[in-house]
């Protein structure tokens, strides 16, 4: 069988599986649609959260990014895992006890204010849409590269699949498809990584191969890469080039943003009890860390492999994968000195670099680099699609529930029946899929950049409001609203200024305290905390029933009752 045939077969089989699950797990009530009837087992929820969380960027781009950034790439590894500790210790159990359907639901009730709810709805929709457009684009790109379909057709197919199970099954359908998608994506990620690890270090465990000895040279792998980097004029792989303060701020923004992203938080509403919510965060991080501890290993294998197989090699003798990917434009060779050999060197070298490599190829080309059979390549395509579709579905649910539950039922049309609310939820999910697909086909030039900033925005808006809502009874409506608005405005303003208004000033010399726009969300979060706290002490305390509510969410016993008390 050809590679293309394998890819078609595996992608079609995985899609059939998702559709089958969707039909089996149709939602029949709003509780099913928003929180899967709160009947998901903690282990299944852990897998679903892992798939929900790991997007096309984690699957396709992250290892390649780290491969080119070295130590600086740690911000993604730390930032996108450390937030789960905050989720487990400070958010998930209490929000589960509260038993709401959405994130704005909690904010609106805890801050006894329709205005606070609407501020939260706007933040949730803004954050989720910027994120989802990137996912649909990822679906289109995987289709385009592996199946040679037009990117727009690929986006269309992805939309149809997500439409089917998100509209039909709501959270219930999404949860069980995400469980299947996790299995597909982790298998697709680990198989090539294991083979690559054996190929380069002789150790089948990538995490151990990471610290192992390169078989070809007999030198420890990392020392070998450091040596090559010095020789070729690249910056040190293990020391990094960003300032310590900037690394600190970016990591913090990504961590806190993770803990504040609505599509992650709502996953913990779907388990039966508070104790299930706690352990389910543990499972989620365990499943995520399987991929996240493999990625840095893949990054160094790919780095060693790339340098070894192309540096100073005559262009006529390059490996086959090199030629294959050259056709896609992701690898470009420009023989500047006309010697017919590839000079792949860094900025500190006296020679001119002649090779440009797109970071995404590091994961996508792995199976070919390791000479793996055609079915593994098909598997990587199915894995990339699983990662993108699962994240897109989770985000679309946040958007649809924000509209049908928070805007209609809880704010403007409280008299609608459950049946009408469910219909509105399905309609909102459908409209959201279409809008997301539109952005996927016609991406605004800044989508890729904005996705990274979604974390800063979530960190500077939701996180302080939720944390203070649980841990401080004194936090008032006025404080929380002002904190959210100032936090997100400050963060968005800084990002917009340096990226779109004065992009020529976007460098360490002009940043405040040397903090890049990626890390500014941390400062926005601190601003939010400060404003919320000060304003809360200057305004009247929350009414007694809200203080009772806070007391109730702090103890696990009686899950599922708390939110009924607040109405």
């Amino acid at each position: 069988m050809t590679v293309q045939a394998w890819t078609f077969l595996l992608v079609a089989a995985s899609f059939a599986l998702y559709i089958g699950i969707a039909i089996w797990s149709r939602a029949s009530s709003t509780k099913d649609f928003y929180v899967a009837g709160t009947g998901v087992s903690p282990l299944a929820n852990g897998m679903a959260t892992a798939a929900d969380w790991m997007s096309a960027a984690s699957f396709i781009s992250m290892a390649g990014l780290i491969s080119f950034m070295g130590y600086d790439g740690s911000v993604y590894l730390l930032g996108w895992t450390g937030g789960y500790v905050l989720l487990a210790l400070m958010l998930a159990p209490y929000l589960r006890k509260y038993g709401a359907f959405t994130v704005p639901d909690f904010v609106g009730d805890r801050y006894y204010s329709r205005f606070a709810r609407i501020v939260a709805v706007v933040c949730a929709i803004f954050v989720s849409f910027t994120y989802v457009a990137g996912q649909m684009r990822g679906v289109g790109i995987v289709f385009g590269r592996f199946l040679e379909v037009d990117v727009n057709v690929g986006v269309g197919i992805g939309m149809a699949i997500v439409f089917f199970y998100a509209v039909l099954g709501g959270m219930k359908g999404i949860t069980y498809t995400q469980v299947a998608q996790y299995c597909v994506l982790i298998f697709a990620y680990l198989v090539p990584a294991i083979f690559l690890s054996i190929l380069i270090t002789g150790n089948p465990v990538p995490q151990l191969g990471f610290g192992g000895v390169e078989q070809a040279s007999g030198i420890p792998l990392l020392e070998r890469i450091e040596g090559l980097h010095r020789e070729l004029g690249f910056a040190s792989y293990t020391n990094g080039t960003k300032s310590t303060l900037d690394v600190f701020f970016i990591t913090a923004a990504l961590m806190v943003g993770t803990a504040g992203l609505p599509h992650v938080i709502i996953r913990f509403y779907t388990v039966p009890r508070v104790r299930d919510a706690r352990i389910s965060v543990g499972w989620a991080l365990l499943f995520i860390s399987l991929l996240y501890t493999t990625a840095p290993a893949v990054a160094v294998f790919a780095r060693a492999n790339l340098i070894n197989s192309v540096q100073d090699v005559p262009y006529e003798q390059v490996p086959e994968w090199f030629t294959n990917w050259e056709a896609t434009g992701l690898v470009r060779f420009d023989d500047a000195n006309g010697d017919g050999r590839i000079q792949y060197v860094g900025p500190e070298s006296s020679m001119t670099n002649e090779l440009t490599v797109d970071r995404d190829i590091m994961v996508l080309a792995n199976p070919e680099i390791a000479n793996l059979p055609g079915w593994v390549i098909g598997l990587v395509a199915a894995g990339g699609l699983a990662a993108a579709l699962s994240t897109a579905a989770g985000l679309l649910l946040v958007i649809s529930s924000a509209v049908s539950h928070d805007l209609l039922k809880r704010s403007f049309r409280p008299d609608i029946t459950e049946k009408q609310e469910l219909l509105a939820a399905r309609a909102a999910a459908g409209v959201a899929v279409v809008i997301a697909g539109y952005f996927g086909m016609n991406p605004p030039g800044f989508v890729a950049q904005v996705v990274a900033f979604a974390f800063g925005l979530a960190a500077s808006s939701f996180f302080p409001a939720i944390i203070l809502g649980i841990f401080s009874k004194r936090t008032s409506r006025e404080g929380a609203i002002l904190g959210m608005i100032l936090g997100i405005t400050f963060t968005a303003g800084y990002i917009v200024y340096f990226n779109f208004v004065r992009p020529e000033l976007n460098n360490a010399g002009h940043w405040w305290f040397g903090i890049s726009p990626e890390g500014i969300g941390t400062l926005g979060m601190l601003l939010n905390f400060a404003v919320t706290t000060v304003v809360s002490y200057l305004t009247p305390p929350p009414p007694p029933q809200v203080q009772v509510l806070v007391d109730l969410i702090r103890v696990p016993r009686g899950a599922g009752q708390a939110h009924e008390l607040s109405i």
Partner: protein, 103 residues
């Protein structure tokens, strides 16, 4: 507000005191675990990374600060959450606020 049926006896002074003590213990666990979380990620992985890079993870070629930032901290995160779960389940039972019978 909902009816009195669904509201636990939060006005009973003994229960209020018990819940307050439960919350204090919870916060103590929270601070201790968060301190470890901060130490392994921001401490070993970022602030002291350069200093730790002078050492190698035994048996490998991995500089220690670099290893913490790309592997070690993540393992500790996972362990921290499972330790937290164990501590809190024990605390819930001790203060009789666990969800034992209810599902």
């Amino acid at each position: 507000m909902a009816d009195a049926r669904s509201r636990p006896s939060v006005t009973d002074p003994a229960t209020v005191a018990r819940h307050a003590e439960y919350w204090r213990r919870n916060l103590r666990y929270l601070w201790a675990l968060t301190a470890v979380w901060f130490l392994v990620s921001y401490g070993c992985g970022i602030i002291f990374a350069d200093a730790l890079n002078a050492y190698r993870l035994p048996g490998t070629g991995l500089p220690l600060g670099f290893w913490f930032a790309q592997q070690g901290a993540i393992y500790v995160f996972v362990i921290l959450i499972f330790v937290y779960v164990w501590l809190m389940n024990r605390l819930d039972r001790e203060f009789e606020v666990d969800e034992g019978g209810e599902a």
